[in-house]
Each structure stands twice: as structure tokens, then as C-alpha cells.
């Protein structure tokens, strides 16, 4: 009974196979065969979507209506700068292809596709990548494997997610963690409050949701390659929605003078999932068919729980307390 919703950790680290008996592995993409969910789960390119006017549907409060289910189109969080290149120390899923036949780096600026780390920060990232496949210290276990929230930006490359909209808010329901984006113009939380999902204040500019992100505890790594920021990071996100309502690009600028030599930009393409896509577990679209006999098909989100279901997943080497209290309030 405690094993419900194991697909929250479908794409777990091969280095943690001892704990993986409870998880499943999604089928590798077959060349020439469309994947469930529209066949672009491993797209090779990033579509161009320009910032501009919004001509689509709007909610009563004036926001562009983009509520629904979304997921990225090019891979998961195995590798930040070579999304289809596989996790460090592991082979890529699917057939091996030369770099120029895989999706581009998520780093869209600088042009070389690399995060412009300062030397000490680069050494930390590389140390993590080198140790990821065989973690000998707690710090080498990817925090998401321990059910930590995906945080910013990794939540956007980790399973599908749902966006719900309300006057003054957007709510992102991720596979691991929930993020509330406030549109009320109020200032950020006090600077010493640091959060897995950071503190988000947004506004709409035409088809683009612009979000100022601060208060990031920066503990959620960007992926299995160990790319990271510090808690000094300031992120400005631009969610640029295509007017056809089917896609958006996540374009985020990262500024952190304690980790990077210059600001840099990440781009993550996403597509919408709807009742036209199959429901029931594919990791881009974890939805169920609502029970309403005689009425049109309707999908609804599955409950997401992680630590409660997976226990010491990923923590076997270091012992995540499972039975002992961890708070006393």
C-alpha cells in the first residue's frame, strides 16, 4: 500500500538500482515510432516563438488562458547541456547518435552551450558529475532522487506538470513540488528566507509571462550533471506562449556573480497535453480519465506523492531517516 504512484521516480539514477526495484523504467524511444503523447518527447530542435501580442483565449481577469497540462519536448534532467546525451557515467537512452544529431544544449546563451562557471564552481559541477554514478558521499546523490522539490529550473524538465490559473496567481503543480506565482505586484519575501522553489513574482506582457525569481535555496541541482546556482542567484523567467496555445518556450536568464562569470540564458521548449493524448502514466502526461459516464472524455491530474511512497529511495548510502521524527512541531 505504501508503493503507490511510483512513477514519480520513473527516471531514476542507474546508480541507485538497489532501490529501484520499486520503480519502473519507461520504454526507450523506438526510432521511427511515434512516442506516446504525440511523438515529440525527444524532439531534436527548439521551435521559435516570438514575444508579442496574445490573440488567444483569455480568462475573466484578463490573463491569457494557458491553464492545462504541459511537458518539455526534448528529454529529462539526465544532462543539462546535452539533454539527449545521457546522465554522466551512463549511456544515453535509445540509440547513440553524434552530438549534432541530438537536441541542442539548454544553454542558449552563450553560444557555446556551456554554463559560464567561474573555475571553482566548474570544479564543483564536474566533481558531482564524476561521482554521480557511484555516490560515495551524500552530496553526490541527486536531491530529486530523495524526493526534494525539482525547483527552478529543473521542474520544467522533470515529468509533465499542470498549470492552474486564478485572479492574481498561477499555480504550477509539478511532479515533485508545487510553485505559486504571484501576480499581485507585491515585493519578494525577506531575503534570508530561502526556498526550494524560490519566490516568484510575475506579470504578463502580451503572450509572455515574466517572472522575477529570488529567495532560491539553490539546493535543487539542474540535473544529474550537477549544474547549479548559489542562493545568490537571480533568475528572470520568460514563458513565451505560442498563440495557437499548443507550445511555449521557457527562456530564463541566470545571474549569480558568485558562481558564473556572466549572466546566461536557458531555453526549454514545452508542449501542451490534452484529451487528444493518451492518459495513464506516460511520464510527460500523468493524468487519469475522469469518471463521468455519457459525457465527453475528460482528463484529470493524478495525486503526486514521493517521500511518503518511496521511503529511502536514493538515500540508502546515507540513511534518510524514515522512521524517526525529523520535526518536533
Amino acid at each position: 500500500m505504501t508503493m503507490r504512484r511510483l512513477h514519480v521516480l520513473l527516471i531514476a539514477s542507474a546508480s541507485l538500482t538497489a532501490s529501484l526495484s520499486i520503480a519502473q523504467t519507461p520504454p526507450a524511444p523506438t526510432p521511427g515510432q511515434p512516442r506516446p503523447g504525440g511523438g515529440i518527447g525527444f524532439a531534436k530542435t527548439v521551435p521559435q516563438i516570438a514575444s508579442g501580442a496574445w490573440n488567444g483565449a483569455r480568462l475573466a481577469d484578463g490573463q491569457p488562458d494557458i491553464a492545462g497540462h504541459w511537458s518539455n519536448t526534448i528529454a529529462n534532467h539526465s544532462n543539462w547541456t546535452d539533454p539527449q546525451g545521457g546522465a554522466p557515467g551512463e549511456k544515453p537512452r535509445g540509440p547513440e547518435r553524434p552530438r549534432d544529431q541530438r537536441a541542442p544544449s539548454r544553454v542558449s546563451d552563450p553560444a557555446d552551450g556551456q554554463v559560464p562557471y567561474l573555475p571553482a564552481a566548474r570544479a564543483l559541477q564536474e566533481d558531482f558529475a564524476k561521482n554521480f554514478a557511484n555516490p560515495t558521499k551524500p552530496q553526490y546523490i541527486e536531491p530529486l532522487a530523495r524526493c526534494a522539490p525539482g525547483g527552478v529550473p529543473k521542474s520544467f524538465i522533470w515529468h509533465g506538470y499542470e498549470i492552474r490559473q486564478y485572479p492574481g496567481y498561477l499555480v504550477f503543480l509539478f511532479n515533485s513540488g508545487t510553485r505559486i506565482i504571484r501576480l499581485d505586484g507585491k515585493p519578494h519575501l525577506p531575503a534570508n528566507i530561502k526556498l526550494w522553489n524560490a519566490d516568484s513574482r510575475g506579470h504578463w506582457e502580451g503572450n509572455t509571462l515574466v517572472v522575477d525569481v529570488s529567495n532560491n535555496n539553490a539546493k535543487a541541482l539542474f540535473g544529474r550533471t550537477g549544474d547549479f546556482a548559489s542562493e545568490n542567484v537571480h533568475i528572470v523567467e520568460r514563458y513565451i506562449f505560442d498563440n495557437d496555445g499548443k507550445r511555449y518556450n521557457y527562456v530564463a536568464t541566470f545571474e549569480d556573480p558568485t558562481v558564473y562569470s556572466r549572466p546566461w540564458t536557458a531555453t526549454i521548449p514545452a508542449r501542451r497535453y490534452t484529451e487528444a493524448d493518451p492518459a495513464g502514466g506516460e511520464w510527460h502526461y500523468e493524468a487519469n480519465v475522469a469518471n463521468r459516464p455519457g459525457k465527453p472524455l475528460l482528463h484529470e491530474r493524478m495525486e503526486r506523492m514521493c517521500v511518503e511512497n518511496n521511503g529511502p529511495f536514493g538515500g540508502g548510502a546515507v540513511g534518510v531517516p524514515l522512521t524517526d521524527p525529523i520535526i518536533d512541531r
Partner: protein, 279 residues
């Protein structure tokens, strides 16, 4: 004119009788009528129920951040003050939870082991109804098709569907927060919660339930900043009969108050990130 939304209609206790009387008076005077044809306009404008927020559809709008002032989470039943709980008259209608004899023994075992075994101590999901009266804020986001309850503690997010969908015909296994299907009876949101798992407790005193738990919640505004919350719990494996709790939920109105994430289950390991050796 009486309305179907009569709060506390199943409540026989005296705990909140005064509030119930106020609410019933409001219903009788039709103070909530959008037509404004009340016989006493002054009373209609000033009556607490005339000022409750509503969606464009006319349904009550529970959007906002809520929290109980009660001691319910310490112990649902009446109890004296003790080391780990302030005194309280409890929130159980009639006083005691009607345990079956064998289940009472389990509850007493839970009570003895509460300092270690309460699932809350691991920052895990609290289930329904405990997530509602746990003393931390939760935020309701509401649309016509559903209500989304984001609880500050842990990563508890519950959807209450209000789009005329039914419970799943079958589930592969049960849910931490159950499956919640709501409908409106006048201005009362009635929520049927099934498919609960048996991992959660009902309070810090070890009151508990099994997978057979079935909860019917009733959410009703008392005034624009107060919700009367009632839950009736039925569990044939644990209780001899259904029983009911009543608690008030208060809108958090502190200046600039907002939910702050509290993923406390990460506390044992968060010191190791990013790329840190820990203490």
C-alpha cells in the same frame, strides 16, 4: 425562506450553537438574495452572510488562506492539558470517538507511541480531514471546476472536483489525500472523500482510521472571513458508527500574509546541497 445550505444541520452539539443560530437567521431573512429583495435592507447589507465572496457563477468563493485556531490537531477528543497538548473540550460531536473495542486498543497504543509514530513528525501528508485542521495555513484556489488546496506543510495538494465527476470506479491503490468529489447544496460545499489509504492519523493523540475511511465534509461560510467545517467519518473497520467533528477555519489576515513553502521532509539532507559536505 429556508435554503438547502443550512449550516450545521446535522450538528446536535452545543459547541457552535450560537454561530449556527446566526447563520440560520441569515438564511431565514434571505439576506443573501442577490435580488436584494430583503424586507430589511439595512440588515441585508450588514449581515455577515451578505458579504461573503462569490465566484461569477454565484457559488461561494473560498479562495484565500485559512487556518484553524482550534486545538483539534492535538487531540480531537476532550482532554486536560498535558506536556504536549493544551487543554481542549474537543471537536467531536458528543465527545468521544466511537471506536470498536479492538480499534480502541490500537488507538491507545498509538497514543503511547505518539512522540515517535505520528506521521506528521516525518512531514508526511496528513490526509483528510487532518490536513484541514492541522495548525498551519493552507491556501484554497478555486475555479468552477475544482478547488485546489495547497497546504503549507510538506507537499500536500488536494483537488476537490466540483465538475460533476464521480469517484474512480477502481484505483490501483488508495490515495494519501483521498479522492474528493464535491457538490453544492445551496451555499454549502459538500465533499465526498473516498479511496483514502491507512497511513495517516487523525491527530497527535493517535486517533486513526483504516482504508475503509469515508469522509463527508461540509464547507460553509459563517462570515466572509470564517468557514464552518464539518466532517463526518465512517469506517466500519475502526468505528462502531459514523461520527462528526466541527471546527472553524479563519482567514489569515495578517498584513501581507502569504504561504511559505515548508518541505520539511528535506531537512535531514538539505545541508548537502549544492555540492556541500554538510556539517
Amino acid at each position: 425562506m429556508m435554503r438547502a445550505s443550512m449550516p450545521w444541520k446535522s450538528a446536535g452539539g452545543i459547541l457552535l450553537a450560537g454561530i449556527a443560530a446566526v447563520a440560520l437567521n441569515g438564511a431565514t431573512s434571505d439576506a443573501r438574495s442577490p435580488s436584494g429583495k430583503s424586507q430589511n435592507p439595512d440588515q441585508a447589507q450588514t449581515h455577515p452572510l451578505a458579504q461573503i465572496p462569490r465566484l461569477a457563477s454565484g457559488k461561494p468563493d473560498f479562495s484565500g488562506i485559512w487556518q484553524t485556531l482550534s486545538e483539534a490537531d492535538y487531540d480531537l477528543e476532550p482532554h486536560s492539558g498535558r506536556r504536549d497538548a493544551p487543554p481542549s473540550a474537543g471537536i467531536v460531536e458528543g465527545g468521544q470517538i466511537p471506536y470498536l473495542p479492538k480499534a480502541l486498543a490500537q488507538k491507545q497504543h498509538n497514543f503511547a507511541a505518539r512522540a515517535k509514530d505520528d506521521p506528521r513528525l516525518k512531514c508526511w501528508s496528513l490526509g483528510v480531514p487532518r490536513s484541514v485542521y492541522y495548525p498551519a495555513p493552507f491556501q484554497i484556489f478555486q475555479r468552477d471546476r475544482d478547488l485546489t488546496l495547497v497546504h503549507q506543510l510538506g507537499n500536500q495538494v488536494r483537488t476537490i472536483h466540483t465538475n460533476e465527476t464521480q469517484h474512480p470506479e477502481s484505483v490501483e491503490s488508495n490515495f494519501w489525500l483521498g479522492d474528493s468529489r464535491g457538490h453544492w447544496e445551496g451555499d454549502t460545499l459538500v465533499v465526498d472523500v473516498t479511496d483514502n489509504n491507512d497511513e495517516t492519523w487523525l491527530d497527535r493523540a493517535g486517533n486513526y482510521h483504516s482504508e475503509d475511511l469515508h469522509v463527508v465534509e461540509r464547507w460553509t461560510f459563517v462570515d466572509k472571513d470564517t468557514i464552518a467545517y464539518t466532517a463526518t467519518l465512517d469506517d466500519k473497520s475502526v468505528f462502531s458508527r459514523p461520527w462528526t467533528i466541527h471546527v472553524l477555519l479563519n482567514r489569515r489576515r495578517d498584513k501581507n500574509f502569504e504561504l511559505i513553502e515548508d518541505y520539511c521532509y528535506t531537512l535531514p539532507y538539505d545541508e548537502y546541497y549544492p555540492h556541500k559536505g554538510g556539517k
